[in-house]
């Protein structure tokens, strides 16, 4: 009996442990941002013998979501999780307000202006707020292109969404 329970416990890491494992899964387009920092990882729980991972898609057509799902699965399989279900949840819709403080700082350090609730776009190189929109769309669904009018560097802005 005792052995069986031990096995059961070993097979069922708690949510905090799973969250820690998933810290290595990052946005393939912005590798400094983990799923948790991006606000995509919404819930982790056990439903009977199945580990349920609930994620919120960022943009509906973002191809990075497929990759993130595959990376979550590979990471958890490598940790020995056998029964796994990754569920996409649309409601409430993902918003850049869910990006963590750590995530915002990581974006900035990586050279991408983070979304600010005020709507202000600051140059990630020199910090100036004297910036101009070049294009509402950029290399990924989540970014727009801007230019700094002080240091003249072009840069990506993670759009408020």
């Amino acid at each position: 009996m005792t052995t069986a329970q031990d096995t059961g416990t070993r097979q069922r890491p708690d949510a905090a442990t799973v969250r820690r494992w998933l810290a290595v899964v990052t946005d393939p387009e912005i590798p400094v941002l983990s799923l948790e920092d991006l606000g995509v990882l919404r819930d982790i729980h056990w439903q009977d013998d199945t580990l349920m991972v609930v994620i919120s898609p960022t943009y509906t057509g973002c191809p990075a979501m497929d990759r993130m799902r595959a990376d979550i699965e590979a990471t958890l399989r490598a940790k020995g999780v056998e029964k796994l279900h990754i569920r996409e949840q649309l409601q409430p819709p993902w918003t850049t307000d869910w990006i963590t403080g750590k995530g915002l700082a990581a974006l900035q350090a990586y050279g991408i202006a983070p979304p600010r609730r005020s709507g202000e776009v600051r140059c990630p190189q020199c910090g100036s707020a004297n910036t101009t929109l070049i294009s509402r769309f950029g290399s990924t669904a989540c970014k727009a292109m801007h230019k700094c009018e002080d240091c003249l560097e072009p840069f990506d802005h993670f759009k408020c969404h």
């Binding site: 943009y59 509906t60 057509g61 649309l90 409601q91 769309f137």
Partner: protein, 261 residues
Amino acid sequence: MNTAVPAQTQAADRREYALRLGDNALILGQRLSEWCGHGPFLEEDIALTNLSLDLIGQAQLLLDLAASQVPDDPFSDADKLAYLRDAHQFRNALLVEQPNGDFAHTILRQYLMDVHDEKLYSALASSQWPALADIARKVLKEIRYHKQHSGDWLHRLGQGTEESHARLQKALDDLWFYTPELFESDALNQRLQEAGVAPDMADIERQWRSEVEPAIQQAGLRLPESGWRATGGKKGHHSEHLGYILAEMQFLQRAYPGCEW
């Protein structure tokens, strides 16, 4: 996906309605993707393909919803619906399948659809069909962003050079009579409206006109007057253009059924 469905609606009706929405997004997205590598300048090339990507993502949600309504549907997911149906089985409005034409045609068509989508999905956000309401609230954020882009261009081209103005007016003259179809209401719309699933299209049309008409005037354009109107998409009666779109979009799955990569 929330699988609860509103009482007093039929699965076939829900499937059909989700197809209309999903096919509009899919065909417009496919059209816009033709601009990849051909945009008037790099940033706009990227913008048009970003719009395309969002629309194809929206189509995937809506077509998966359509596919999940009727048990044993031979088109059991979004991919099968997109790649294996023939033209007469598509339910998109004729406007979205029209050729891209020049940039003025593309951006005007986009603006007309963006405002339509914004009004429609704002209403659908409170649909009694929970799965559809969830999708509506999700895609609305993307649609509003698209509208800022197409709306800006409407004004810039209309008030730009003589050339840009003339091209935009030509686009309006060519495309305007495809817009009434977007607001047509048939028996299906009526049934879903009564069930609180879909809005009154006359109301959506009023909202659309009250935004689009002043914007067109502010862009310095003249609204066309002739009375003809194109119709047929909801019944699967399409222009010859849809066949060419499908020939390209579906080629791989037709030639190599079930191919994955």
